[in-house]
């Protein structure tokens, strides 16, 4: 049995000194997708019984990077085109902005988790692989709780349309706070599409849309057909839930 216990969404239309999520000082040097994922995760962790033992599944952004890193690359390119061959030294913090497991590592350092981990890559539609992993771990009896988190942005150098999402699951039948009722994750079903569909490269938006659907669903079974743009374009994905 896998129940959705808590969830959090964080959005940031424009990254700026006051626009980003509130974070521990160390997190502020990370790029926007990672900050947003960590901010969302921090909201749901208090609902966990034991964050050190829960499974942590973290989705890498489809658009990693940061405006700072993008400016460095552009400056290096401009210098090269003017005949200056050696690029300027890179700030080591910028290197972190392309590291695919940064959110996972930072979360674990902050919360001391040492259970199962899965860093899922930033390809379109991988959110459902992350959700499948959560269900496998909890239904298989390996862990009692699991966190699924993701953050992303509109473009690699834009830091626009950023969003972060975190979902906490448990084997305990617990009410999902926004609904005041238990929400059970029953299955994630896949079947091949006859033709590939266009996709949207965004690690967090698919899960945000799922939460929106749950929030607006009444009591009973919900067969949420994932919009094609939130899948990998190859499979039709249906998430089956039940609101008690």
């Amino acid at each position: 049995m896998t129940y959705l216990v808590a969830a959090a969404l964080r959005r940031s239309a424009v990254a700026g000194p006051d626009a980003g999520p509130r974070q521990p000082r160390d997190f502020r040097r990370f790029n926007l997708p990672v900050q947003l994922a960590l901010a969302a995760a921090a909201e749901v962790v208090p609902a966990a019984q034991d964050p050190t033992a829960m499974a942590v599944v973290s989705l890498a952004p489809c658009h990693n990077g940061s405006p700072e890193l993008y400016r460095w690359v552009q400056n290096a390119d401009t210098a090269r085109s003017r005949g200056a061959t050696a690029p300027a030294r890179m700030n080591p913090t910028y290197t972190l902005h392309v590291i695919d497991n940064l959110a996972l590592s930072a979360f674990v350092i902050a919360h001391g988790s040492d259970g199962y981990y899965l860093g899922v890559g930033g390809a379109p539609g991988q959110a459902w692989c992350g959700l499948e992993a959560v269900r496998e771990r909890l239904d298989g009896g390996w862990e009692r709780e699991a966190l699924l988190m993701a953050g992303d942005q509109g473009g690699a150098g834009d830091a626009l349309d950023g969003s972060g999402v975190a979902l906490l699951f448990s084997v305990r039948r617990t009410a999902y706070a926004p609904l005041g009722r238990p929400v059970e994750l029953l299955a994630i079903e896949r079947s091949p599409r006859p033709e590939p569909q266009p996709v949207s490269a965004h690690a967090a938006e698919g899960l945000c849309a799922l939460l929106h659907a749950v929030a607006h669903h009444g009591v009973g079974a919900l067969a949420y057909e994932v919009p094609p743009q939130h899948t990998d374009g190859i499979d039709r994905v249906t998430v089956r839930l039940r609101v008690a």
């Binding site: 890498a60 552009q74 290197t95 390809a123």
Partner: protein, 384 residues
């Protein structure tokens, strides 16, 4: 006794690396102690602080989809060896990090997800992309192993690929002080795992694929069995983004979990294919971890690192090392650690130096300890 549905075997391997472009040639070069690290002219022209690396010359460096081409070469070789087609296997794969490439109008962002999307399309689900930095390749193999053992899938192509020799990556990892900067010496000796004179790693390109399947499926198809996968373990340091704890305690937990998953004890392990990249802190912590893991037996267990020969291919590293571990199980031979001549006293282990270790090695642990603290280890055993 575990039945054949839940036993997992390797039926195909494919590699592309700086020392060879097929798995058999890769193994031959490793046993011969050859290094694929060299001076890269375009990095010299760009006057970068690091001009050495392990380049794969089989695919042109300016090809836009080089990452896809390298990966496909390894995947094709593994599937051919296993007599399997893409639509007969799931796909769990680690690709390199996002990068910027030189475009006609300036720098172009190339997300690693686009490489995975291009590779994954013909495979069965699950098509899962792994992101765990340097541990990703090993984690991909471990995830595939667990899925097959649990009966969720019958066969899977698992592994990883990376193209890292761009000015962008060189400057980025040089900024983290992780790379062996140029010292005017022979570029082949840039990376020296466990050696007293080690000073960082050499970035490299590479790809490696393994076909894993249930023993039952392999027998039904009449596929060749190269080795058995018997355990997988993982842990997290939760310590620091750039370095492991000095005592390697996260790595120790990972090793113990891997052998426990296999139903073995540390004493059952014959050899370790180490992550050892040639960094000061990382190699020391890893050596400490291996000694603690084996206890009083540590000086009887052969330890070898491939990074001196092939460099560090990040997402591909664990998969390349797994292919070597499979070959060790088959042959009983452990390849030498290239460029290890004077072991650091803080890295004391039973190193394999100069020539292969011959001792009928049957059970090997292949380890990856990723930047950020994700650790992964897979246990391979000779079959039958």
């Amino acid at each position: 006794m575990i039945d054949a549905r839940h036993r997992v075997v390797v039926t195909g391997c494919g590699t592309v690396s700086a020392i060879a472009t097929t798995a058999p040639a890769f193994w031959e070069a490793l046993l011969a102690g050859r290094s694929g690290i060299g001076r890269i002219p375009r990095l010299v022209v760009a006057q970068l602080p690091v001009t050495t690396g392990g380049e794969v010359t089989a695919v042109p460096p300016d090809r836009a989809d080089r990452d896809v081409a390298l990966a496909n070469q390894a995947i094709d070789e593994a599937l051919d060896a296993a007599h399997l087609h893409r639509d007969g296997a799931a796909f769990i794969w680690a690709t390199g990090l996002d990068t910027y490439q030189q475009g006609e109008q300036g720098p172009v962002f190339r997300p690693s997800g686009s490489c995975f999307a291009a590779l994954s399309r013909p495979f069965r689900e699950p098509r899962r992309m792994i992101a765990a930095a340097c541990a990703a390749g090993t984690q991909a193999i471990g995830e595939a192993y667990w899925k097959i053992r649990a009966g969720r899938i019958a066969a899977c192509v698992a592994g990883g690929s990376s193209c890292l020799l761009s000015p962008f990556y060189i400057m980025g990892f040089a900024a983290l002080q992780a790379l062996a900067t140029d010292d005017g010496g022979d570029p082949c000796t840039a990376c020296r795992p466990f050696d007293r004179r080690r000073r960082g790693f050499a970035l490299s390109d590479g790809a490696a694929a393994l076909v894993l399947e249930s023993l039952e499926a392999a027998r039904r198809r009449g596929a060749p069995v190269l080795a058995e996968v018997v355990g997988f373990g993982m842990s997290q340091d939760g310590f620091d983004l750039n370095r492991p704890p000095e005592d390697g305690r996260g790595a120790v937990r990972c090793l113990h979990r891997a052998v426990e998953d296999a139903g073995l004890a540390p004493s059952d392990v014959d050899a370790v294919n180490a992550h050892a990249t040639g960094t000061l802190v990382g190699d020391r912590a890893e050596a400490a971890a291996i000694r603690r893991f084996f206890g009083s037996d540590w000086n009887r267990k052969a330890v070898s690192s491939l990074k001196g020969a092939i460099g560090h291919a990040m997402a591909a590293a664990g998969a390349l090392e797994a292919v070597a571990a499979v070959a060790t199980c088959r042959t009983g031979l452990v390849p030498p650690t290239v460029n290890l001549h004077d072991p650091d006293e803080d890295c004391e282990l039973r190193h394999v130096i100069g020539r292969p270790h011959e001792d009928d090695v049957r059970t090997v642990v292949s380890t990856s300890f990723g930047m950020g603290g994700q650790n992964a280890a897979v246990v391979f055993r000779r079959f039958p």
